[in-house]
């Protein structure tokens, strides 16, 4: 492995590796105090807790929709030769989607604001904190918030009788990974945004993801387009979370998790690099 000394001119000390390894989580090693930004978010939400509470309601409405709407109309659905209640099938997919949505919205609009308007990150970078701390810290903040929602979501599923297997408790850590991956991707995207209107592009991505991730139908129903579904990172989250709720674990799920890990690492690396380029000129 080639690895020359840390000589970035600004002293952020990110070691350079050979190009094949460049995308690896070098940023993770350059980060020292990402939790300080999480602390800052906690400080903020302690007073603005209403903002937190409002985030619980959207997924709740989804669940009600599933419970009283689809489930009664659609009836049962067959997965791998076993028949399941449609509500058990779709609720975990909504859990995965809401982890994605929450994280993405936290990491785009909020980050754009701090990056371009309030200049929070300029302030932070004047301290011993690094661009990697900013990237990782903000992503972790979004994950933390998303975790609260995921726990509430699982709890609500349980109350509504939509839990099919006790394995569903493992869906919370999986949703944390989903949130991390999409927060990282979203924050990376936010560094490329030039105006508020660019947020529309985020919607333009998340809505198709929601529709083409085997959220509402099994992947087989996409027919010859099912390969396309494989390209959606959300699909890989849906597969695992759904598997947990139906009590069906498969080795291939490790592959699904790996896709999310890859997205998380790439998003993190791109974000840290972009922040460095934008703010440390």
């Amino acid at each position: 492995m080639t690895s020359d000394v840390a000589t970035t001119p600004d002293g952020r000390g990110v070691p350079r590796r050979s190009s094949a390894l460049r995308i690896l989580p070098i940023e993770l090693f350059a980060a020292r105090r990402p939790h300080r930004l999480v602390e800052r978010s906690v400080m903020f939400y302690r007073r603005a807790w209403m903002l937190l509470v409002s985030g619980f309601f959207e997924p709740l409405l989804y669940l009600l929709l599933v419970q009283v709407g689809f489930a009664t109309l659609v009836g049962d659905i067959e997965v791998g030769g076993v028949s399941y209640d449609y509500a058990l099938f779709v609720a975990p997919a909504l859990l995965a989607s809401s982890a994605m949505n929450g994280a993405i919205f936290d990491a785009t609009g909020n980050v754009f604001e701090k990056l371009r308007h309030t200049k929070l990150y300029d302030t932070v970078l004047a301290t011993p904190m690094t661009a990697a701390d900013v990237a990782l810290g903000e992503i972790l903040g979004a994950v933390l918030r998303g975790t609260l929602y995921s726990i509430a979501f699982v709890f609500t599923m349980w109350v509504m009788g939509l839990v099919g297997s006790p394995l569903i408790v493992l869906a919370v850590p999986v949703c944390m990974l989903i949130a991390f991956a999409f927060a990282a991707a979203g924050m990376a995207a936010a560094t490329f945004m030039r105006a508020w209107s660019d947020l529309e592009y985020v919607n333009a991505v998340t809505l198709p993801l929601l529709l083409f991730s085997a959220t509402f139908y099994p992947v087989s129903s996409y027919g010859q387009w099912s390969w396309l579904v494989q390209l959606s990172p959300l699909y890989h989250g849906v597969v695992v979370v759904r598997g947990l709720n139906l009590g069906r674990l498969e080795w291939s799920m490790l592959g699904n998790l790996a896709v999310l890990v890859a997205l998380a690492l790439v998003g993190l690396a791109v974000t840290a690099r972009r922040i460095e380029r934008l703010l440390l000129r």
């Binding site: 000589t7 002293g11 800052r40 300029d122 004047a126 301290t127 440390l280 000129r281």
Partner: protein, 330 residues
């Protein structure tokens, strides 16, 4: 007003025993943005405990220089050492020992006044209880204790500036960088700030500041460099620079433009030989003389009739005019 204010134990107060190395050493320091040269190979040194200024007009390269010293902007070439560490490779370690007051306050609008200070201390890994203690002391120091639990937005410009200075002191820095600390503030707010900075200076904090106000440079700087278009054009103490580049006094004359036609040609001929030299500006003529009153008498003796005249001590403004042919603030 602040007679019984006590120096907080947490603010730096030190005695220098041996001859220490310079706090900042810059050699042939350059900063380029693409093809544009913002800082064009400057050399300077800042000694511990001194108060050092960059005086120059907008666009001179002051902020670019400060950002390089603050280790938030990579140097294009040259050498920059701070605390005897290399700015290029030890940025985080340098930043840990430095306080920064950026040109724009950049306060955290989502947090309260005191939270702004506490979280800033946390960025330096200072324990939370200690952050709270320092925040309370510093709010006292910048006279914002009553506003501690308010949001930042409604504060006046001067208050925000003071809060930013308090924030920069949370880490008890050895070196304080201030980029245009009082630009845009009203005179009273400026004087409060100068007073606070003067106290810091007396306690041995090394101050490095930029300004385009000559009175600020005269008030606060032991030593300064005059910057113009990315270059240092002069260096010295405020008094030394004035002695070197200006006369003791300046006679300012205003003529009615209509009387003399072209505003520069007519008086320039008539005042030739009065004082050491003269400078003609769009709105007035300056005559540099050791004795301003004598020069004015000579102007009258020659039959010139300015509509206004003023004898004043020369200032850094005159130094800048002499060196660049332009005024500092236009």
């Amino acid at each position: 007003m602040h007679g019984n204010w006590r120096w907080p134990a947490s603010l730096p107060c030190r005695t220098v025993a041996t001859v220490p190395p310079s706090i900042i050493t810059a050699r042939d320091l350059r900063k380029q943005f693409g093809d544009f040269v913002a800082v064009d190979g400057i050399d300077f040194e800042v000694e511990p405990g001194e108060s050092f200024g960059f005086l120059g007009p907008n666009g001179a390269g002051k902020t670019s220089t400060m950002r390089m010293v603050g280790c938030v902007s990579p140097i294009t070439s040259g050498q920059l050492r701070i605390f005897d560490l290399d700015a290029a490779s030890d940025g985080a370690a340098i930043r840990a020992r430095m306080g920064v007051v950026p040109q724009a306050d950049q306060l955290d609008a989502e947090l309260t006044v005191v939270e702004n200070l506490v979280i800033y201390g946390r960025y330096f890994d200072i324990p939370r209880a200690e952050c709270r203690r320092r925040a309370a002391e510093l709010l006292e120091f910048v006279q914002l204790t009553e506003r501690a639990d308010e949001r930042v937005d409604p504060l006046s410009g001067g208050m925000k500036r003071r809060l930013t200075i308090a924030r920069s002191l949370m880490s008890e820095p050895d070196l304080l960088l201030l980029d245009e600390p009082t630009t845009g503030l009203d005179p009273q707010a400026r004087h409060i700030l100068w007073d606070r900075l003067y106290r810091l200076k007396q306690r041995g904090v090394t101050l490095v500041l930029t300004t385009h106000y000559m009175d600020e440079a005269e008030q606060l700087c032991d030593r300064l460099v005059v910057m113009d278009q990315g270059c240092i054009v002069a260096e010295g103490s405020p008094r030394g620079l004035i002695d070197q580049y200006a006369t003791r006094e300046v006679l300012e004359l205003r003529f009615v433009t209509g009387d003399v036609g072209d505003h520069d040609a007519a008086p320039a001929v008539d005042i030739a030989g009065i004082g050491d030299r003269s400078e003609t500006l769009p709105d007035r003529t300056l005559i540099y003389a050791h004795d301003g009153e004598a020069a004015l008498a000579e102007v009258h003796r020659r039959g010139l009739d300015p509509v206004g005249s003023l004898v004043r001590r020369s200032s850094l403004e005159d130094v800048f005019l002499r060196l660049t042919g332009r005024t500092l603030v236009d």
